[in-house]
Amino acid sequence: MAHRPERLVANREFRLRLWVAVLGCFLICGLLTLRLVRLQVTDHQNFTTQSENNRIRITAAGALRGKIFDRNGVLLATNDPSFALELLPTKITDIDATLAELGELIELSPDEIARFRKLRKRLSRYSAIPLKFAMDEQELATIAANQTRLPGVRISNSSTRSYPQGSATAHVVGYTGKISAADLERIDSNAYRGFDQIGKVGIERSYEQQLHGEQGFNQVETDASGRTLRVIKTDAAIPGNDIYLTVDLQLQQAAVKALAGRAGSVVALQPATGEVLAMVSQPDYDPNLFVSGNASSAFGALSSNQKRPLFNRAVQGQYPPGSTVKPQLAMAGLEYGVITPSQQYFCPGYKQLSPNSRKYRDWKRGGHNHTNMRKAIAESCDVFFYELALSLGVDKIHDFLGLFGLGETTGLDIIGEKSGLLPSRGWKQAMYGEPWYRGETLNIGIGQGFMLTTPLQLAVATATIANRGERPKPRLARAFSDPISDERQLTLPEQMPPVVLRDSSHWQHTVQAMTDVLQSPSGSAHRISTNMPYTAAGKTGTSQVFGLDPDSEYGEVPAEERLRDHALFVAFAPIEKPEIAIAVVVEHGGSGGRIAAPIARTVMDAWLLGTAGTYQPSSNAGIRANANSTSASNNQGESPNLSAALGSEAHHAH
């Protein structure tokens, strides 16, 4: 035991140091106690006086939220002054009596009283508790006249968000709401002191940073019970930036009207820049409902509505694209050398993978006879694309359609966008652990089966054809504007990787065929070409909602509407210098050519034609006239033209 003595020494040393530590703790505790005695006993009187005279408080005040305008400066979201009735419990001896008295003066619903009681339990006893929001002028006057009889009752003014265009722009602009626990997870709560609203969806959410602004601080003098007497000093809040959208309200309204209450979506883009000119999803909702005091009941009613009005079909609705992807499929055939522009397949009205096996039918019972690519697109021949898809194989289809942005989110600047689905062998193996079957390739050839796209994706894919390969990144925000300095900052158009073809004449063949969809007498959307003063190219689509029994008669309309096919149509116009690309989806609409195409025509007319119904290239006709001076100068950043346009229009709105 040679270590024993040394260890004992070490133990004794350790004990000594522990005692030093204990002594230190007692000393410091003594020091802290002395300090508290000094403050709480010796100087108590002094501090009590200071506490009673403590009148100056610093409170945070929220900033005015930025406004949202359409591309021409029409107001889409703004702040309205609003007055709320508040009660200060510490100033009121009998709350129930006061409530009863108020109930005789103005109308108080049981809901309002219940909410008041709930808030009273939750909030600090010194805080003012709101009883009624959005007081009208008569109510304000009544309360003011009786103010002396009602101690502890006061009117507070604030501002509430309002959406002058109501439901027409609901799915673009979104709405704001009370800051929730979930919101607190993603924000810096210090930056939100004095605020109680935050953007929940749409532009309101994705540009929260721009719109929000910075809170100000007030030094206020209060009386002994905390009531504000006067404001001593104010560090003014910095209002949030205004946002100008790419959307054109008139076009948006035209699209809403064209849909005529049918469930579905219309998305219109400016092909060169990706600016979203209109984005409609029906059914919609009135975002003003979320602003009132009854936001939660409004939300409850809307979210349990079977028609799903809160669901933004334009970016979240995933539909089989049906025949609308046939132009891209034909281009894949040309690109991979599987077909030539003049190559024909024979269409007997159905396709069998082997004799006596299942018949994959064409929509036209007698068939299209000998069919080349141009005719196949114009008449939407299915058998041609069955043959083409079989020759290509699913993986090549997957790769080529991916170039147009299908199967991935487009990068639109609002959240919640869905990516659709572009199937491949690998995907199916990973998803279902099953190999790919040839029959499934046939379905993909007509945009059915596993394939899903959003209306926005279809619009982008169409714009890519309109641009002959340049794929735009769609966006909704066009410019931010500082409301104080009036400085404006434009967002810049972004391009995605372009589609580069081996032979650029393939674009011409495809556009030619898409022109035939409207111009050829047997084109599937021929009906909408009547009296069309501009050129246009398009493609119809009718996509199955559920798998029909292959031996039943194709084209039989299911009795129930919810089993009816979706009607789709994509188009762009004019052909040479495209100014609009559009995708229309009508849920359970039936035939694309009959239902969706006329909607697209109406919207394109609204954009391109003047009141006289004439078209002049890049001229002053149509809705686009207002926007035209701005769209031309888009790539050069801030131009005097744009400032003038934004500025003059903005002033109307204010």
Binding site: E13, F14, R17, I28, C29, L32, S51, N54, Y126
Partner: protein, 384 residues
Amino acid sequence: MRIETYYSHLGKSPTVGALLLDRLRRMHIEPLLLALLLLVMAAGVVILYSASGGSDSLILRQAIRLAVAILAMIMVAQIRLRHLMAAAPAIYVIGLILLLLVLVVGDSGGGATRWLNLGFIRFQPAEIMKLGVPLMLAWLLSSERATPDMTKVVASLLLVLAPLALIFLQPDLGTAVLIGASGAFVLFFSGLKWRYIFGAAAAMAGALPLLWARMHSYQQQRVLTFLNPEADPLGSGYHIIQSKIAIGSGGLFGKGWLQGTQSQLDFLPERSTDFIFSVACEEFGLLGVLPLIALYLAIVLRGLYIAARCDDHFGRMLAAALSLTFFVYTAVNIGMVSGLMPVVGVPLPLISYGGTSMVTLLISFGMIMSIHTHKTQPLYGANL
């Protein structure tokens, strides 16, 4: 020996209390420490209820945090000392890597970059270092029975300074102070010669001007404010003036629960977090908070007693250093809200609202419990 056997030797059957204590010890929970911690937490919930203006939801969230932290403590108490020792270097190295990551890819908030976002959770790696530094130093110095040799002392200093510098850069002065203190305590208990200790203290005093130059302007502002809060009563001196008014106006008996005008009328800033002790002083008075201070002191003394009873050098250094760090935590918070020290942003342990430090703190108590309950088989009547 099982408790039933022990009592049967005495010719009696065990009482309910004795059975409970035995049960707790078998679960490696130290009953006295647990009782003291629970008392402080209970007092804390009462104070927090008032400080939050009577918010049930806030109390609920705090209660969940406390439950999670207690669970973590019990889990850590199950780990044997030698396993803890074996893990020490790994914990330290991981902590250091995460601190470096914070500087590169950290999340910012309120002018500081302290957080790492792992997608499902956002946390401060500095918290790991509150445990990592004392563990690592105790591990390094535990082989020395008398006094550590110079190489190890220099190595220890570097091991403390590296994370300290990284935390200082974030910047997080409060945590840096606490981690520095925990390292210094391990060195102190390792048997470092007194002359080095006094020498280091002198050197620190000399280094203060250098430290001042490296401080962020808001940190310097805090120190200036501390020296003369009345210079800017509505600016940066506001916090400390309002806090002193709250404490002073509380007097001997306090204004009563939920009756503090300073706290309830919003004069006192950050009253649920850093300044919660002022709320207690205002509402419960001097006679109300002295028992609270006594409870904190008792927790520290119990920790030091456990260190004294431990005959493993690693264990006793760790227990003593962690207990003293807890004391520093408490004393710094009380010192800063009462105007004895600059405001460095240290919450009142076990009471302030907030989750990050609560778990770390109770894990350190879990280690102390493990040190006490694992060292020997319990011998009834001999070792209470």
